[in-house]
Amino acid sequence: MGVLLKAENVTKRFAGLTAVDSVNLVINQGEIIGLIGPNGAGKTTFFNSITGFYTADEGKVEFDGQDITGLTTYQNCKAGMARTFQIVQPFGNLTALENVMVGAFNRVNSYAEAEKIAKEMIDFVGMTDKTYDIVADLNIGDQRKLEMARALATKPKLLLLDEVMAGLTPTEIEGVIELVKKVRKAGTTILMIEHIMAALMTLSDRVAVLDHGKKIAEGTPTEITSNENVIESYLGKAYKKEQ
């Protein structure tokens, strides 16, 4: 099991505010890593810094054995990183099929081939009946699943999920959990930000906790749920009693 992503001392500042403060993180191939922390802890900023949406002020990111520090988003996608967004970013006026095809074109050039891959991915997330629907008309659950399909169509090595379960009903969450398991089984490594603890704890191999931009803990779900610091800053006393 080799190292897929290695982030060293990644730091991102916004005019005096250090949103991400020297964060180190190693992700091994085939793992599911959870990233948790209170609102404003810097989780999404960390995502943006390693995927190239932001240029990190300090630090180094290695991906798949290559130094990708300073590469832009589309280059990182070509290298094998795909992400979903905390706030869904669909191509609203296009059909579900076309949305996913945009992702598929990351690896192929032919329209027919892209269409084939896109249909497979839509099938994979269980939305076959909505292939030709206009995405703006879909509900939030479907839009999130579609965003996953779109990211998967780029054939990533690492899939970064930014709160894919937010705003979904319990049944929909069940569906997404199964989906994430299926993605991992198909060989894709996953880094996920999530606030739905139950889901995150069942899925993750390891969990990293951010608070005020710093990584305050990392470990297996069991280790994290019993970590005093984490309970103090994020999970809350109630969580302790539950255990």
């Binding site: 988003t73 589309y74 967004f85 074109f105 329209y111």
Partner: protein
């Protein structure tokens, strides 16, 4: 889940979006063929004055399609498309009048020059990440710069304008009677429309539309947005230059305002807004509606200076209010309503 708007023009751009990338229905093909045949037969029964209107519609539609490629499809709202139009017109005219270069070669030189101008505008704007309204304003400013330069430079005949000699020879890119120009304009429009129709079903076409819909998402999916925006802009500019050369060779006179005026830039946009931005046939439908209206108001209200513009503006406002997605959007809406009713 609401997308953030990059500016106030953006909603204007988001409307009238072509969603169907599927093929044309049999009825659509029949309509297109029938209209084409009708247009090609107009020289047989229309007077020269009326033919002029048909040519105006065809060239306006062509110009609008050029704009549609980068603004309707790729979402980079240009408010200064006259820049490329003017470069095309001036390049071929100056070369032929002052240097005796054949207008056909001048046309190619104009396309090249417009491409270079577009590359400069695009590089400066996209490199510094100008989006939405800010990009539109930048294009407008560049266009105005070109107008002022042309107006004040003897090399470009300053404000006197350039008069092209009449020769009636196709080798000099003049096609004798009106029908010659009509056929050429028709071919230009048919070619660009067919091109847009085809490109929509390719990787590059889908990438263009994806950038319009959501540039951040497009980048995250491996699209080099800068490169594709540049491609759309340069292609659009080069095709627009062709329209400029055509204009110069048809009316045989150009000046800085005719070429680089704001109203020229606007005339690239209005057919799209009326007909449906980002659709394949919207700009043609729009041109067929707006050009006769503009001609009519000019003729009927000529004694009241400026009133024709008031009427024109009013029609535009009404069109935007009543048909926010253009004529094509209205059709889609009516069809959807009908399907729901059944």
């Amino acid at each position: 889940m609401e997308k953030k708007n990059t500016g106030t023009l953006s909603p204007l751009l988001k409307r009238g979006i072509n969603t169907t990338s599927g093929g044309m229905s049999r009825l659509q093909i029949i309509i297109v063929l029938a209209v084409s045949i009708f247009v090609l037969l107009t020289p047989q029964f229309l007077s020269s004055y009326r033919l002029n209107l048909v040519i105006t519609i065809l060239t306006a539609a062509y110009f609008a399609q050029c704009w549609n490629l980068m603004s309707g499809f790729t979402g980079q709202f240009s408010f200064g498309h006259a820049a490329f139009y003017g470069v095309g017109a001036y390049m071929s005219s100056i070369l032929s009048v002052d240097y005796g270069v054949n207008p056909w070669i001048g046309m190619l030189a104009g396309m090249l020059a417009a491409g270079i101008v577009a590359a400069i505008i695009g590089y400066l704007s996209f490199h510094y990440n100008l989006r939405g309204d800010y990009f539109a304003l930048a294009t407008m400013a560049f266009c105005e710069i070109l107008r002022v330069i042309t107006k004040n430079t003897e090399f470009f005949h300053a404000s006197t304008g350039v008069t092209i000699s009449y020769s009636k020879d196709w080798k000099q890119m003049q096609f004798g009677g009106k029908e010659g120009y009509l056929y050429v304009a028709f071919i230009m429009l048919a070619a660009i429309t067919f091109g847009l129709y085809k490109i929509r079903k390719t990787k590059i076409g889908l990438y263009f539309v994806a950038i319009r819909e959501n540039e951040d998402a497009a980048k995250a999916l491996g699209i080099n947005a800068f490169r594709y925006k540049m491609t759309a802009l340069i292609a659009s500019a080069m095709l627009t230059a062709l329209a400029g050369t055509f204009y110069a060779q048809y009316y045989l006179y150009i000046d800085p305002t005719i070429c680089f005026g704001n109203s020229v830039s606007v005339s690239a946009i209005t057919p799209c807004i009326i007909g449906g931005t980002g659709t394949i046939f919207g700009p043609i439908i729009g041109a067929a509606i707006i050009e006769p209206i503009s001609e009519l108001t000019n003729a009927l209200l000529s004694q009241y200076v400026g009133l024709n513009m008031v009427v024109y503006g009013l029609i535009l406002v009404l069109a935007i209010l009543l048909m926010p997605n253009g004529v094509v959007g209205l059709f889609h809406k009516l069809r959807a309503k009908k399907q729901k009713g059944e």
